[in-house]
Amino acid sequence: MNVLLALPALLLIALVFGWPMARYTWLSFHADSVLTGLVPIPNGGANWVRLLSDARFWQDSLQTARFAVMSVSLELLLALAIALLLDQRWRGRGAVRALTLLPWALPTTMMALGWRWIFNTPYGPLEQLAAALGLPSLNLLADPNFAWMATVAADVWKTTPFITLILLAGLQTIPADLYEAFRLEGGKPWQSLRSITLPLLTPYILLSLLFRLAQAFGVFDLIQILTGGGPASSTESLALYAYLNAMRFLDFGYSATVMLGGFLMLTVIIVLAAIALRSIGVLRPVK
């Protein structure tokens, strides 16, 4: 009976998630490129063997992980500070709350073009500022060692509001009298952050981490517009590499393999994280 009630949802998931995944898996065991005249030909596990020894794939995996971890942790810290501030009572809070959300409401393509202009050499504001301060030209987007930081900065700017929103909602579920009871027990305000706010906010922090890590791991549009993966592939993400394989090299079999490889890695990371969190008691098993 219970299964029957869940059937519509399960069917939907099978349709929009199960079918593409099955199709990708099937494709990853075929050669399907310009060389085969775009006709899928079974090639055993050749795509997967190639993936394991593909230095660019592993390089991109590391770059994707670096991007995801850096941007999500910065976003979390910033969002926590902003959410705590927006949870206080002060004049004009409503307007600031609305303004804070704006970056998230902008389409990524638009905001990425904006950031490309900010980093533009020699006309962008950043370069102008450096020149005004008498600093040498930064030329950030052209430097393979630093370009990834520009992608992180733009992502932090755009998605901090999303985490802020989730954390702010979480903060508002904490009853005020818990803080009052804590004060009467002799606690100072900064102590309540550790004793009350953070423990009660943990589910919301985990939720936003899950959302954002999954999203950041699949980052495409921001990087495609800001750097196109360059310079020298130094900002290329897995999604960009998969796109490149499909759309430029017209190798759909291998593109599917790259995609699945990234997906499997992300799944393993999340499962390991869940097990770790459960073992230290942060996550409770669902009953």
Partner: protein, 321 residues
Amino acid sequence: MTLELQSVGRRFGENWILRQLDLSVNEGECVALLGASGCGKSTALRLIAGLDQPDAGQILIHGRRVDGIPARQRRIGMVFQSYALFPHLSVRNNLELGLKIRGLPVEERQNRISGMLDVVKLSAQADRLPAQLSGGQRQRVALARALLRDPLIYLLDEPMSNLDAQLRDELRPELKKLILNGPQPVIYVTHDQQEAMALADRIAVMRSGQIEQIGSPQELYDKPMTTYVAQFIGRPPMNLLEDDDVMVGIRPEHLYFDAEGMPCELINREWHGASQQFILNSPRGELQMISSGDTIVPERPTVAWKRDLEHRFSKSSGFRQ
């Protein structure tokens, strides 16, 4: 005087929600702040606790001014209406948090907590989360936390209002034993006159930010100074009959059937066993009446009361005459 409020006022914008509040509470005394919601009783409690600051007047504990002193330094044991237990901490950790903050050594913390768990009969539930406790158990955790604060004053904010009627009756003696019988003064906020009568040494009936009357339960019952107090104290409320420019008040329990009395029509009768309650329609208005369970209702009810038991209030001001 252990606790003193001297012409304390609090306003929100132009609206004074507490005006010129004077209150003195002695060692070991329990004073109930009784009133309808919005009368300012909870605000008064929050001012004493230091969770809110007065706009006028001063508050003294043991002769020392405390307005201006942060809540955490006032040594107040408070029980919140919601109990305000920390939902992510077990019963034991709920009790321990305050002791830890106040820097008690581990061993002493553990001794005091296990002793307290015995007192409130929660030793078996020590490792449960608040969500896994019954309402009565949660209340006892809140009481235990207030007791462990070792406070100068107890403040109880409607501690019974989240419990069902039967549990309330059961917990009242426990509350008396644990807190009310101690040497610290207790301020007990409630909107339930029965609870105030049962627990408090004195009751302050509050109305629109002021104390309407303060006195022992008996004084308020025997000699209410206004029609408001007269109708707030006692269940069912006092009957008020108009008589020229006077309101005549008669308690329902002071009415009796008498052949010489005022003819009435019986509208409703509730029989409670030991007592029974009537609603009667008289030429002077509707009357509530209580009598013992074995009273026989005459076929044509006529009611009377003893003249010396009636209360007289001014019709224009509502004050006792």
